[in-house]
C-alpha cells in the first residue's frame, strides 16, 4: 500500500489542486485528477524523504488560525511602521535557540516567524540549532523569543514532534 500510495495526503491535495485548476467537478475531471494524483506522488515519492507525522491535527489547525490572524495583525502593524515616523523603528537582531528539530517543523517555524508581526527569520544555523531573527522593534529580545516560543514553537512541537 505504501509503495502504491506513498503519500495519501499529497494525493488528496493534488486532486484538490487539479479541480481548482480546471475549475470543474465533472466526473471526467475527477477521474483524470485522481489518476494524476495517484501517478505524480508515485513518481515524486523519493523526493519526500521526511515523512510528516501529524500527531495532533487539531492543534495544527488552531496554529494555522493563529498564524492567519497574526498575518493580518502583522500587516497592519507594519503598515503603521512604514507610514509612521521612521524613528519608531528600533530594529535589532535576535539570536533564538531552537527547540524544534525536525526539518519540516523548523522550516514551518521559520516561515511563520517571517509572516507574523515585526519579525523575520534571517538565518538558520547550518546545524539547525538556532535562528537569527531580525525584529523591527527588537529592543526586548527576550520578550520576542518568549512570544514566539509560546505562540508558535510549542504548538509545532506538540503537533509534529512530541511523542
Amino acid at each position: 500500500m505504501k509503495t502504491l500510495f506513498p503519500h495519501p495526503i499529497l494525493s488528496l491535495m493534488l486532486l484538490g489542486l487539479w479541480l481548482l485548476l480546471v475549475n470543474s467537478i465533472s466526473p471526467g475531471q475527477i477521474l483524470l485528477g485522481t489518476l494524476l494524483a495517484w501517478l505524480i506522488p508515485l513518481y515524486t515519492a523519493r523526493f519526500w524523504t521526511a515523512q510528516i507525522h501529524i500527531r495532533r491535527p487539531l492543534l495544527l489547525l488552531k496554529l494555522t488560525g493563529t498564524v492567519l490572524v497574526d498575518i493580518l495583525i502583522a500587516n497592519i502593524a507594519v503598515a503603521r511602521l512604514i507610514v509612521g515616523p521612521r524613528a519608531r523603528i528600533q530594529p535589532g537582531f535576535i539570536r533564538m535557540p531552537l527547540r524544534v528539530k525536525g526539518n519540516v517543523s523548523v522550516s514551518l517555524l521559520a516561515n511563520i516567524i517571517t509572516l507574523t508581526p515585526g519579525t523575520l527569520s534571517a538565518s538558520l544555523s547550518p546545524d539547525r540549532s538556532e535562528l537569527i531573527i531580525h525584529a523591527l522593534q527588537g529592543e526586548d529580545s527576550a520578550a520576542i523569543i518568549t512570544e514566539i516560543r509560546e505562540r508558535y514553537e510549542q504548538p509545532l512541537l506538540d503537533a509534529l514532534e512530541q511523542t
Binding site: K2, T3, P6, L17, L20, L21, N23, S24, I25, A45, R46, W48, T49, A50, Q51, I71, L72, A74, N75, V78, A79, I82, V83, R86, I89, Q90, P91, G92, F93, R95, A110, N111, I112, I113, T114, L115, G118, L120, S121, A122, S123, L124, S125, P126, D127, R128, I132, H134, L136, G138
Partner: protein, 138 residues
C-alpha cells in the same frame, strides 16, 4: 434579493478587496523605498505585498465565481503559493545579506555568530539525506 442588488453588493465587495489589495501592494513597495536598511526593507514585501496580492486574488475569485458558472477558486492556488514562498525568499535574501555583511542600522550580529552561520569555524552537520540512498517510501 434582486439581481441588481446582488450585483451591487458583489461589486462593492470586490471593489473593496481590490482597494485593500492594491493599497497593501503599494504599501509593500513604499516600505521598500522608505525604510533605511535592507533588513528593515525585507519586512515589507513579505508581509504587505503578499497580503495585498492575496487580497486581489480573493477579489478575483469572488468576481469570477459570481460572473461565471461554477466556483472559481484557482486564484487561491496562487495566493497559497505566494504565502508559502514569500518567507522563504525573504529568508534566503537575508541569509545572502548576512553572508555579504550588508550593513544594518542596528549593527550586525557578532562576527563569530555570522561565521558560524556561514558554516565557517564550526563544521556543518553533514546532510544525512544526501548520503543515504532514498528508499521508495522515504
Amino acid at each position: 434579493m434582486t439581481t441588481e442588488l446582488t450585483t451591487l453588493l458583489v461589486e462593492i465587495f470586490v471593489a473593496l478587496l481590490i482597494l485593500i489589495g492594491a493599497g497593501f501592494t503599494l504599501l509593500g513597495s513604499f516600505g521598500l523605498v522608505r525604510l533605511r536598511d535592507l533588513y528593515e526593507r525585507l519586512h515589507t514585501p513579505t508581509k504587505a505585498t503578499t497580503l495585498g496580492v492575496g487580497s486581489l486574488l480573493i477579489a478575483s475569485a469572488v468576481f469570477f465565481t459570481w460572473r461565471e458558472p461554477g466556483v472559481s477558486l484557482h486564484e487561491v492556488l496562487v495566493a497559497v503559493f505566494l504565502f508559502i514562498t514569500a518567507p522563504v525568499s525573504a529568508h534566503l535574501i537575508a541569509k545572502a545579506a548576512l553572508h555579504q555583511r550588508s550593513p544594518s542600522r542596528s549593527g550586525l550580529p557578532p562576527e563569530s555568530l555570522l561565521e558560524k552561520h556561514d558554516g565557517h569555524g564550526a563544521k556543518p552537520r553533514p546532510n544525512a539525506e544526501a548520503k543515504q540512498k532514498p528508499s521508495q517510501t522515504g
